[in-house]
C-alpha cells in the first residue's frame, strides 16, 4: 500500500509521483485530493489527485517543493512507501457541458487543473487553457494539455509563450471570444486576480482553494474560508468555490499563519540533511 511506483522530476522543484492506492484510484474524481503523512513524526498535508489509473490501482500527484514536508517527499525513491494516504477527499468538480470553457493554471496548480480539463472535455466542452509559470523551466504538463485543449503559454520573462501574467492572457482571450465559464487553479494570489479579471468580463469562475488543512474531513476548521460572508470548511464544502464569493485577503493572511514555524522546521531539516550527506 502507498508505494511510490514511479517518480519523475518534471520541472525545477516539481516532482510527479504515481502512487499505489486502489481505493483512491478507484474513487477519486476531478478536483479531489488526498491527505498524506510521511512518517510517525510527520504532519498531514493535502495534495491533489492529478490523475488515476484505476486498472492498476495507481493515482498521481504532482508536488512542488516549498518546505520541509514537500522536500522530504521529493527525496523518496521509487519503491518507497508513504506511511499514510487518505482520500479521496473534498467534493468533485461540477462537471457538465457548459460550452466554451477557459481554464487557467499557474505553477503546480496546473496539475490540479488537469483532471478537471479531461473531465470537461469528456462531456463535450470546448476547452482553452492558459498555463502560466515564472519561466519556461517551471511550466509543467504542457503536452498533456495540448492533447485536449487549445493552449496558451504565459511566462513572467517571456521564455515561453506570452510574456506577462495569466490575467494578461485572460484579458486577451475574453476580448477575442465568448466564454461560458472558467476555472482558475494556482497560487492564491493568482486566483484572486483571475477572479477580478473574470468578473470584469462577467464570466463566472471556479477556483480551487488551498488553505492550511489538518484532518481534511471537516473535524478541525483549520481550513475555514469566508465564502459569501459565511464560514465554509474547504475540505468538506470545497475545495472548489465560486471565485466571486471568496474573501481572498483573509485566505492570503491565513496561509501565512505558520510562516515562522515553517521556517524553523525547514531549516532544521536542511541542516540535518546537510550533515548526513
Amino acid at each position: 500500500m502507498n508505494e511510490i511506483v514511479k517518480k519523475t522530476k518534471i520541472a525545477e522543484d516539481v516532482f510527479d509521483f504515481w502512487v499505489h492506492s486502489p481505493s483512491v484510484s478507484k474513487e477519486a474524481g476531478p478536483g479531489q485530493f488526498v491527505v498524506i503523512r510521511l512518517h510517525e513524526k510527520g504532519e498531514r498535508i493535502p495534495l491533489t489527485v492529478a490523475d488515476t489509473r484505476p486498472e492498476k490501482g495507481l493515482f498521481r500527484m504532482v508536488v512542488k517543493v516549498v518546505g520541509k514536508t514537500t522536500h522530504e517527499l521529493s527525496l523518496k525513491k521509487e519503491g518507497d512507501t508513504i506511511l499514510d494516504v487518505v482520500g479521496p477527499l473534498g467534493n468533485p468538480s461540477e462537471i457538465k457541458n457548459y460550452g466554451n470553457v477557459l481554464l487557467v493554471g499557474g505553477g503546480v496548480g496546473i496539475a490540479t487543473l488537469y483532471p478537471i480539463a479531461k473531465a470537461l472535455k469528456n462531456v463535450g466542452n470546448n476547452i482553452t487553457t492558459v498555463l502560466g509559470a515564472r519561466t519556461k523551466d517551471y511550466l509543467i504538463m504542457v503536452d498533456e494539455f495540448k492533447k485536449i485543449s487549445d493552449v496558451l503559454l504565459v511566462t513572467d520573462d517571456g521564455s515561453a509563450g506570452m510574456k506577462g501574467v495569466v490575467t494578461d492572457a485572460m484579458d486577451k482571450l475574453f476580448r477575442e471570444r465568448k466564454f461560458d465559464i472558467c476555472w482558475a487553479v494556482g497560487p492564491t494570489i493568482m486566483m484572486k486576480f483571475c477572479t477580478l479579471k473574470a468578473r470584469e468580463f462577467g464570466v463566472p469562475i471556479w477556483v480551487s482553494l488551498n488553505p492550511i488543512m489538518v484532518d481534511g474531513t471537516g473535524m478541525c476548521g483549520a481550513c475555514r474560508v469566508t465564502v459569501s460572508g459565511q464560514i465554509k470548511f474547504a475540505c468538506v464544502d470545497g475545495p472548489e468555490f465560486r471565485g466571486e464569493e471568496v474573501d481572498w485577503d483573509e485566505l492570503l493572511k491565513r496561509l501565512a499563519q505558520y510562516r515562522e514555524q515553517e521556517k524553523i522546521s525547514y531549516e532544521r531539516f536542511l541542516r540535518a540533511a546537510g550533515e548526513s550527506e
Binding site: 514536508t69 499514510d84 478541525c220 464560514i231 468538506v236 493572511k253 522546521s265
Partner: protein, 468 residues
C-alpha cells in the same frame, strides 16, 4: 470507617503545568485496598444503575479487597472493554459514584469507584500476560463498524467476542476517536488507548485506518458487502462564534488545537512536524471539558496567562468539578459572566485582543439554566494573542452527506432507536455522539454495547425492526 475517599497522588500544580505527563498518579495496592474497604457491599448496590454499562461494581471491589486482582479485572473486563480509560475519564460524580450509598451519608464521600477501576486495569496491564483468543470470524456474518471512538471500539469488541467477522473503518491514521485526538495526554496517556485497541485487534478485529466511509469506501459498497453496519462517527464538527474576527490567525477551534497537540504531537514541534502557535496570553471561550483541556494544554505549551471566558457562572459551568479544580490549581483564570463580541486583529491578520461584554443572569431559558444577558456599556478589551473557541460541536458530516435514506433528527444527528441503535436503514445501527450529540465516553460505549447485542439479534433472525 473513613468518610473521605483515599486521596490519589498527583503531580504538584507547579510541576505539572509545564509538562504533558499524567496529572493523577494512581493508587498503590495498599491505597486501593484501603479504598475498597470503604465499600459496604450493599445488597441493593445502587451504584450499578449509575453506570451506563452496568458494571458489577461491588463484585470487582470485593475481589480487589480480597487481593484477587485478576478475578477483579475479569469482572471489569466482562462489562467494559476500556476500564483503564473509563477509570480515568468517566464523570463518576454524576454516574456510578453519585448513587453510592456511602456518599449519601452525612459528610461522607462516595467510594472512589473510578479510581479503583483504574487501579485494577493498570495492575492488569502490568501484571497479566493477556491470553486473548482471536474469537472473530467463527460466524459467517460480517459487520462493518464506522469510526473507532469508544462507541465503535465497544461494538467491534463485543461483536468479535460473539464470533462475527468485524471490520472497523477509521478516517484518521490512529484508532480511538476523541480518546486520541481530543483528550490530552495529561488526562489520558495515549499508551493506554493503544493497549486497549491492541486487545481488540487480538480478538481478531480488522482495522482499516485512513479510510473515510463515504469517500474512500462508498456507503453502497458497505451495505452490499456487510450483513450489518454500526455507525459511531462522533460529533466532531467544531462550531464557531461567528463574531467579527473569527477567522483571524491565532483563533482556533478547540478541535483543531487539541488535534494538533494530541494526535499530531505539536507540543513536541519541531521534532514533530505539525506546527502550533504558542500564545503568551490565551483566551479559551466556553467552560466545558473541552475548554478545560484546551486551556490546560495551552498552559503546558508555555502560555503565561490563560483565561477561560464564559458567559454564565461557575454554577452553570458544564465541566467536571475535578477538572475545574485542576485548572484552578494550575493558575487558569476564570472570567465568569463574560461574552466575547469581537476579535481584534493586527495588520497581518493576527488576533491581538478580544472585546468582551459583561453579562448578568436573568430568569431561566429553555435549557433550564439562567439566561445571560449583556450589560449595556460594560464592554472591555482583553489583550490576547491566541483564542481557542470551545463552544460545542456538531455531527461529523462526511458520512452523513453520502448516506441517502439515513434519517437525521432536527439537530442533524442520526435518528436511532434509543434501546437498540436501529436506524431508518435496514441493517444499519448507530450510537455514541453521532446519535446523542456530544456526551461521554461511557455513554458512547454503552450505546456500542447495546447495538452489538441487537445486531446479534438481528443477524440471528430473532428480531427485525425493519420488517413490515
Amino acid at each position: 470507617m473513613k468518610n473521605r475517599k483515599t486521596p490519589m497522588k498527583e503531580q504538584s500544580p507547579e510541576s505539572r503545568r509545564r509538562n504533558f505527563e499524567e496529572v493523577a498518579l494512581g493508587y498503590t495496592l495498599e491505597e486501593a485496598v484501603a479504598e475498597a474497604q470503604r465499600c459496604l457491599q450493599c445488597p441493593t448496590h445502587p451504584c450499578v444503575s449509575g453506570c451506563p454499562v452496568g458494571i458489577d461494581i461491588p463484585g470487582f471491589i470485593r475481589k480487589l479487597r480480597e487481593g484477587k486482582l485478576e478475578e477483579s479485572y475479569r469482572i471489569l473486563k466482562s462489562y467494559n472493554n476500556l476500564p483503564a480509560v473509563c477509570g480515568r475519564v468517566c464523570p463518576q460524580e454524576v454516574q456510578c459514584e453519585s448513587r453510592c450509598v456511602v456518599g449519601k451519608m452525612k459528610d461522607s464521600e462516595p467510594v472512589a469507584i473510578g479510581r479503583l477501576e483504574r487501579f485494577v486495569a493498570d495492575w492488569a496491564a502490568e501484571n497479566l500476560e493477556e491470553e486473548v483468543k482471536p474469537l472473530a470470524g467463527s460466524k459467517k456474518e460480517k459487520v462493518a463498524v464506522v469510526g473507532s471512538g469508544p462507541a465503535g471500539l465497544t461494538a467491534a469488541a463485543d461483536l468479535a467476542k460473539m464470533g462475527y467477522h468485524v471490520d472497523v473503518f477509521e478516517a484518521f491514521h490512529k484508532p480511538g476517536g476523541v480518546l486520541v485526538y481530543g483528550i490530552p495526554e495529561f488526562r489520558l496517556p495515549k499508551g493506554i488507548v493503544e493497549r486497549e485497541v491492541n486487545y481488540i485487534r487480538k480478538l481478531g478485529v480488522n482495522f482499516y485506518l485512513n479510510t473515510v466511509v463515504g469517500k474512500t469506501v462508498k456507503v453502497k459498497e458497505l451495505l452490499s458487502e456487510y450483513d450489518a453496519v454500526f455507525i459511531g462517527t462522533g460529533a466532531g464538527t467544531p462550531k464557531f462564534m461567528g463574531i467579527p474576527g473569527t477567522n483571524l490567525n491565532g483563533v482556533y477551534s478547540a478541535n483543531e488545537f487539541l488535534t494538533r497537540v494530541n494526535l499530531m504531537k505539536a507540543y513536541l514541534f519541531p521534532e514533530y512536524d505539525t506546527p502550533i502557535r504558542v500564545g503568551k496570553k490565551v483566551a479559551v471561550i466556553g467552560a466545558g471539558n473541552t475548554a478545560m483541556d484546551a486551556a490546560r494544554s495551552a498552559l503546558r505549551l508555555g502560555a503565561e496567562k490563560v483565561y477561560i471566558v464564559y458567559r454564565r457562572t461557575e454554577r452553570e459551568m458544564p465541566a467536571r468539578r475535578e477538572e475545574y479544580h485542576h485548572a484552578l490549581e494550575e493558575g487558569i483564570e476564570f472570567l465568569w459572566l463574560t461574552l466575547p463580541i469581537r476579535y481584534i486583529g493586527d495588520a497581518n491578520g493576527n488576533v491581538e485582543a478580544v472585546e468582551c461584554v459583561r453579562m448578568e443572569l436573568k430568569e431561566a431559558d429553555g435549557s433550564g439554566r439562567p439566561r445571560p444577558v449583556p450589560i449595556e456599556g460594560s464592554n472591555f478589551i482583553l489583550e490576547v494573542d491566541m483564542v481557542i473557541e470551545a463552544i460545542g460541536q456538531g455531527p461529523n458530516r462526511v458520512l452523513l452527506s453520502e448516506f441517502p435514506g439515513l434519517k437525521l433528527n432536527e439537530h442533524g444527528y442520526i435518528k436511532a432507536d434509543e434501546d437498540t441503535g436501529a436506524t431508518s436503514v435496514k441493517g444499519v445501527f448507530a450510537g455514541g455522539d453521532i446519535v446523542t450529540g456530544a456526551a461521554t465516553v461511557i455513554k458512547a460505549m454503552g450505546a456500542g454495547k447495546k447495538a452489538a447485542q441487537f445486531i446479534h439479534s438481528y443477524l440471528t433472525g430473532e428480531w427485525n425492526p425493519w420488517q413490515k
